[in-house]
């Protein structure tokens, strides 16, 4: 007797479960459809629109290659990315690699100077007052204005372009690190005072972790600036790299390659930014 109702309930339960799972599956589908539209369809539509406009413009302006012609050229460029046919004619892979190397070097120098400087400016009001006018004047200077100074001092094109990267990418790190240190919540500093933490403990347990998100923002902006500057610097200084490649192909009137370079610079810049963002996420709390 007792088995009957139980069995009935089980059947009923599974029935409910089935309709629920169908409904939830349907409900899950709706937002994911919207997500699909926003995440895939919209960007794709934007890209098609851009290529469409480009195609129309290229029919009226014969010097500008069509998207298709550029695509074929890109396939060719990327089919052999690491060839070396002399000092000024190397594959796209080498161009990217050399540009990244200069950016990496210049940025590392900037970080070594900029982050500690930012810490000190943020911690000591006197240093802040000392540095503020200098930073305000030097920060808006166009990166390329530093190039002659670099050439003069280092007497070498390679060193000068790294110098330009360093000097123009140092500011976001200085400013953001200083802002981070200055904005440490008073609560944390009060905790440090009540606990009578040593200067070293304050530095490692409070100052550094509290400032890291700001430092990471500074690093992200700095790398963005460095990557922005590299093309211009290489155009002027030469040597293998994306900027020089653009200039060289301009002299060869190979516009397809210039457009490819523009896309490559954009995509590599985006990847750098995303990589830093991924690292930075690990340092956000709350």
């Amino acid at each position: 007797m007792s088995a009957m109702p139980t069995q009935g309930r089980v059947l009923l339960d599974t029935g409910v479960l089935k309709t629920e799972s169908l409904r939830t599956r349907f409900q899950k589908l709706l937002p994911s459809a919207r997500g699909f539209a926003m995440g895939v369809v919209a960007p794709f539509a934007g890209l098609i629109l851009l290529i469409g406009i480009w195609a129309i413009v290229s029919t009226t302006s014969p010097q500008l290659p069509t998207p298709l012609k550029t695509w074929h050229s890109a396939v060719e460029v990327f089919s052999n990315p690491f060839y070396i046919k002399g000092p000024n004619d190397q594959g796209i892979g080498w161009n990217i690699w050399n540009s990244l190397k200069r950016v990496g070097l210049g940025f590392t120098l900037a970080a070594i100077v900029g982050i500690p400087l930012g810490f000190m400016i943020g911690r000591f009001a006197f240093l802040n007052a000392m540095a503020a006018p200098i930073i305000s004047v030097l920060r808006p200077v166009s990166p390329l204005a530093w190039l002659p100074i670099g050439l003069l001092v280092f007497k070498a094109a390679e060193a000068a372009s790294i110098w330009v990267i360093a000097i123009s990418s140092v500011w976001p790190m200085v400013v953001n690190t200083a802002a981070g240190v200055a904005r440490i919540p008073q609560d944390y500093l009060n905790v440090a005072r009540v606990l009578k933490l040593s200067e070293w403990k304050i530095f490692t347990r409070i100052l550094i972790p509290a400032t890291l998100p700001y430092v990471m923002t500074g690093i992200r902006l700095s790398i963005g600036v460095a990557w922005l500057v590299i093309v211009a610097a290489e155009m002027l200084t030469g040597g293998i790299g994306l900027g020089f490649w653009v200039w060289d192909e301009w002299n060869n009137l190979n516009v397809e390659h210039i457009i490819i370079a523009i896309f490559v610079v954009g995509i590599v810049g985006l990847m750098l930014e995303q990589a830093i963002l991924m690292v930075a996420k690990r340092f956000y709390y709350d």
Binding site: V194, L197, R205, D286
Partner: protein
Amino acid sequence: MRDFVKLENIEMTFISKRGEFTALRDVNLVVKEGEFVSVIGHSGCGKSTVLNIVAGLLDATSGVALCAGREIKGPGPERAVVFQNHSLLPWLTCHQNVFLAVESVFGKVVSHTQLHERTHEALSLVGLDDATLKYPHEISGGMKQRVGIARALAMEPKVLLMDEPFGALDALTRAHLQDELSRIVARTQATVVMVTHDVDEAVLLSDRIVMMSNGPAATVGQILNVNLARPRDRVALANDAQYMRIRGEVLSFLYEKHRNPDQRAA
């Protein structure tokens, strides 16, 4: 019993761009060893300023502030503070947060394992054995405040200073933590100064209630002894005649003699 904390003729004047502002004038207060004293008053009356002077986070403009017979100069672990917004370091786990305090106070005296044991004991005292490895953002507001209390207790302070410790919590969590604090204080015989604006909380927990007049130039308006037997049970006290009388006196002080200046203006 010894006088543990002593404030004599404390005056506190803040100097800002808009001029001078006298927050406290002629504040006199004595807290005895093992006593639980609440400071109550309307917001802006300077009750937190009093606590911060005892903590050493603020320097009184004039007057004498003593703790265990010595002048208070700056903060120190013998006057541990439980902050209103818990002030846990978000990049450290609960254990690490408490350990930082333990290490700072006892690091030179006891071994590393003992430091960890003390940390465990403190977290266990507030009932957080299971959450020691969690980060502050992974636990509830009530649990964060418990970690704050554990951190303060782990320093084995002479005085525990609490600045509206349960102000940010919901009513049920607050009641639960009040009961727990009451139990912990009974066990550790701690001396406590607590700032609050909750009348029931003050009556339930305190031996004495210090009622402050409104600022500017706020001072101690009246001190009330709470002679209720311990342990106190909040449900039983709800109908207790003496509890009602004390509660009534605090309410009458706050809402008749020293009404909130904002309400008076309106």
